[in-house]
């Protein structure tokens, strides 16, 4: 209980300050969540969903708690919880898994929340972009809380960037994002992580979908230290569709762990998953994806793919695609591979005078291209193509002034 202890003490000391700076809807959940955390502590690696990430070790350093205020100018769609145009109580901390220790810790310590609210039948013209910039000189932790609520028939594209000043001290971020999509909603959401090797990120995303809604969620991990992304999807309206995508590029001691759960609760829903990893140096990748089809969810179709490349002898990959099916009229597939670059393709390129390093980069790019192709928003797709290629060439912007690299 060593790592937990400092958080328990922190909460006891800071609870009052946090409560003062926060809003009633968040304060209402705080004590109960702290109780859960206090009882459970950090999940050990014996907890199935945290099998591949040592949470306690990541939380062990002494982090200062960031209590700065968000400076959000209320706009048409973006609000802080305090300025919310709607009552948040029916949504806040409702679809999040209260039994998850990270979610509980976040609920206990988060003092501010970001709300993206799209009213009925509205279609924001431009994508909504949220940049989370980590800067500072002392080891700090942030507890981010986001609620995205899309009313019936609305549409949105949301891009979230995680960035950090380079070089950075140790930063730790926890994020809990609850996404509620009513009937007929179209949502594209992208999370792009470009932080530093000293940054740890624990992100828990919960998505609830109503009838005929279509959600695409992509997590792109370009740079970081420890990235743990959990994504739970609850398909609760017929004919809902979800696509989860992920692309992870790991080098040095990066640790990238994606854990997803898609629950088909009603008939005729569709889910697709595509996660790809390229791991170099001593990077560790983990993917666990579970598709759960409940008893009445007939006519479900589901496709889950996880493909991985290990580019160095010390890289490690753990993959675990799971199906749990209680209905009979379904079509569910999953596939998973771990391997090396196609040797014949490599040979073909060498034969045609392409240097080996170049050929490898080309192949890796093509490999990742499949995930990036899924991105609907064109400018972002183009930007990511460039970023991914730069990343493979070691020319990524964060690499320029980084003293750790090479």
């Amino acid at each position: 209980m060593k790592a937990e202890q400092q958080y328990i003490e922190l909460y006891r000391e800071a609870a009052e300050t946090i409560t003062q700076r926060s809003c009633p809807v968040m304060n209402a959940e705080r004590d109960a969540a702290f109780g859960v955390f206090q009882q459970q502590g950090f999940p050990t690696q014996k907890v199935e969903r945290y099998k591949y990430t040592d949470v306690a070790a990541a939380f062990a350093p002494n982090y200062g708690l960031s209590l700065g205020q968000l400076d959000i100018q209320p706009s048409r769609y973006i609000y802080s919880f305090k300025d919310s145009p709607i009552n948040l109580a029916p949504y806040y901390n409702k679809i999040a898994d209260g039994a998850d220790s990270i979610t509980a810790l976040n609920t206990a310590l988060a003092h501010e929340g970001l709300l993206i609210y799209v009213p009925r039948n509205e279609h924001p013209e431009a994508p909504i972009q949220i940049d989370n910039w980590l800067r500072g000189t002392a080891a700090t932790m942030m507890h981010r809380r986001t609620l995205i609520l899309l009313e019936e028939g609305s549409e949105a594209t949301i891009v979230m960037n995680d960035k950090a000043d380079h070089p950075s001290p140790h930063f730790l971020t926890t994020q809990v994002m609850e996404i509620v999509c009513k009937a007929n909603v179209h949502l594209d959401i992208y999370e792009i992580e470009e932080t530093t090797p000293l940054c740890s990120r624990f992100s828990n995303v919960y998505i609830q979908e109503g009838r005929d809604s279509v959600v695409k969620h992509n997590v792109i991990t370009l740079q970081g230290g420890l990235s743990r992304n959990l994504c739970d999807v609850y398909l609760q309206g017929e004919n809902a569709e979800v696509t989860l995508g992920g692309c992870a590029i790991g080098s040095r001691q990066q640790h990238i762990d994606n854990n997803t759960l898609i629950q088909h609760q009603v008939p005729r829903c569709q889910s697709n998953e595509l996660y790809k990893y390229v791991l170099d140096d001593q990077a560790v990748g983990a993917f666990a994806g579970k598709i759960l089809v409940e008893k009445d969810a007939q006519k479900t179709t589901s496709q889950e793919t996880n493909a991985n490349l290990c580019a160095s002898s010390e890289a490690r990959m753990y993959t675990q695609p799971m199906l749990e099916i209680y209905a009979d009229d379904v079509k569910c597939n999953h596939g998973s591979t771990v391997g090396v670059l196609d040797q014949t393709a490599l040979f073909y390129m060498l034969q045609r005078g392409i240097p080996e390093a170049e050929a490898r980069t080309l192949l890796k790019n093509a490999f990742m291209g499949q995930v990036i192709d899924q991105i609907q928003y064109r400018p972002l797709r183009d930007r990511l193509y460039v970023k991914v290629e730069k990343r493979f060439r070691g020319e990524h912007e964060k690499c320029e002034d980084c003293r750790l690299c090479k």
């Binding site: 890289a315 990959m317 749990e324 009979d328 079509k331 596939g335 998973s336 591979t337 090396v340």
Partner: protein, 494 residues
């Protein structure tokens, strides 16, 4: 496909369909009889005294008793695992008798003489214990409850230097061999049930194939649980020395009883340089009745260690019985260029639950493994595939291919896939694919159109689906397995 019995073929009328299903469910387990034979059963309960008693009854050397006691002390520190996707009831380990000897009566007179009742039992099960009557050319070790009844063709095999006998006999006659290999593949600390087995194991088979020998016949063990309130804890040890080959079959049945019976076995296989072992199982323990009462709890640990270069091990299993199956025949591929295969068909019906699969641990260079698993669930059953493929740091060029398909018959059952892949080497290639679906309506329609009834069509399709695995079984078993498949699924359609 084998034609079904006449009496099972009558089609149910709409109103008494449930009655029909029930009657079939009760009828279909044809090995549910009990044998009335005087059996010596020790008192229920588990403690060090019981272990000493078992050891004394078998006249075991001190080291083996020590092994048992260490395992027991370790077992005491552990708790029953709950991670599998089955609802394992709380087992009262003190309510089980750990030793039942149906041969006790005959022991007084002549050791060679077998109680005619026992002979009859095995005849009824289709296992010939009279060598002259055996047509199939298969050597059999017949085990009932805790004791090996008879091992056939022992003499003929010993001419080639092959040792095939019960493990109790091996402990007496070849103590050095047994001591060298026992617990070397599955140590008693491996898991809860392995510790239990190591403490109280009774009988099982021991096979040693000397260097450069091709075993001339299929070796087989037949396990039978007969006595009430006993558990069966058999232990099989197979050692295949350099350049040798053996094919080994295992079959099992139990009487129909309302209470669960515990079966916790260990199978250890050691494969040396250039040797090959084929291990086939047709598991048909009593699955419980259609309401889910009774049935065998089948909790076994099976593992092969491919120690030598170019060694080969192949597991083939057809799982149709048991109320609960918890079984992961595994391979540790330490030898360079070694090859492992796992072929499995698991059928669950009514309230059966199966959590089965394999582990392939690649340690040597250029090791290859193949996993083909076919799950079929019907009724209210739950069928899970759980598998691990681990590529060690030094397993350069390792290759794995896994394919797991599940077929769902009926809307009340579940099919699950939990594969784990841990890759620690960048030259390895690991592939996994899985599908879950129900029987294609088009295929059924096609069969119906050609005058094949739905029930028969399902049988055909299921057999075709399982063919990849059935084809890997030795001839005699393949016929048996096909018959079992159609019987197990009886009453699931219509």
């Amino acid at each position: 496909m084998k034609k079904k019995n006449k009496e099972d073929e009558k089609t149910p009328s709409q109103q008494d369909q449930n009655a029909f299903v029930r009657s079939v469910a009760e009828k279909k387990y044809e090995f549910g009889f009990t044998t009335d034979v005087q059996t010596e059963i020790i008192d229920k309960g588990l403690n060090e005294e019981v272990i000493r008693l078992i050891s004394a009854k078998k006249n075991e050397p001190q080291w083996l008793l020590q092994f048992r006691l260490e395992a027991y002390r370790y077992w005491l520190t552990q708790t029953q695992p709950s991670w599998a996707h089955v609802t394992l009831p709380e087992i009262d380990y003190q309510a089980i008798s750990y030793y039942a000897d149906p041969t006790a009566k005959s022991k007084g007179n002549d050791k060679q003489e077998i109680d005619p009742e026992l002979m009859k039992t095995f005849d009824k099960l289709g296992i010939p214990l009279e060598e002259r009557m055996a047509l199939s050319g298969m050597a059999v070790d017949a085990v009932m409850d805790s004791v090996s009844v008879k091992t056939t063709f022992k003499e003929k095999l010993s001419e080639k230097g092959i040792i095939f006998c019960s493990i109790s006999e091996a402990v007496q006659q070849y103590p050095d061999l047994v001591r060298q290999y026992l617990g070397s593949v599955v140590p008693y600390r491996d898991n809860y049930f392995a510790a239990l087995n190591s403490a109280v194991f009774s009988d099982g088979s021991f096979v040693y194939i000397p260097k450069n020998t091709r075993c001339p016949m299929e070796l087989s063990t037949y396990f039978r649980i007969n006595a009430r309130n006993t558990g069966q804890f058999e232990r099989t040890l197979i050692v295949c020395d350099e350049g040798s080959y053996v094919s080994y079959l295992e079959g099992c049945t139990a009487p129909m009883r309302d209470e669960n019976q515990l079966h916790a076995a260990i199978v250890e296989i050691v494969v040396m340089d250039n040797a090959e072992v084929k291990y086939s199982t047709v598991q048909n323990w009593y699955p419980g009745d259609s309401e889910g009462r009774g049935g065998v709890l089948n909790l076994v640990t099976k593992r092969g260690h491919l120690r030598g270069v170019n060694s080969k091990l192949s597991w083939t299993q057809v799982e149709t019985g048991s109320a609960i199956t918890w079984k992961y025949p595994s391979c540790v591929l330490s030898g360079d260029n070694s090859q492992a295969e796992f072929y499995s068909v698991a059928v669950t019906n009514n309230h059966q639950e199966a959590d089965t699969g394999t582990k392939m641990i690649h340690l040597g260079k250029n090791t290859r493994s193949t996993i083909i698993s076919k799950g079929i669930s019907a009724g209210r059953s739950q069928n899970s595939y759980r598998g691990l493929v681990r590529i060690g740091k030094n397993a350069d060029g390792a290759r794995n291919y896994s394919s797991c398909d599940s077929l769902l018959l009926g809307s009340q059952c579940g099919a699950h896939t939990f594969p784990y892949m841990d890759v620690h080497n960048n030259t390895a290639t690991v592939e996994h694919e899985a599908t879950t679906s129900k029987i294609n309506e088009d295929q059924l329609y096609y069969c119906n159109q050609r005058g094949i009834s739905t029930e028969e069509a399902v049988g055909l399709i299921v057999n075709g689906y399982a063919k990849d695995v059935i084809n890997k079984l030795p001839m005699e078993f393949a016929v048996e397995a096909q018959k079992l498949l159609s019987v197990s699924l009886e009453g699931t359609v219509g």
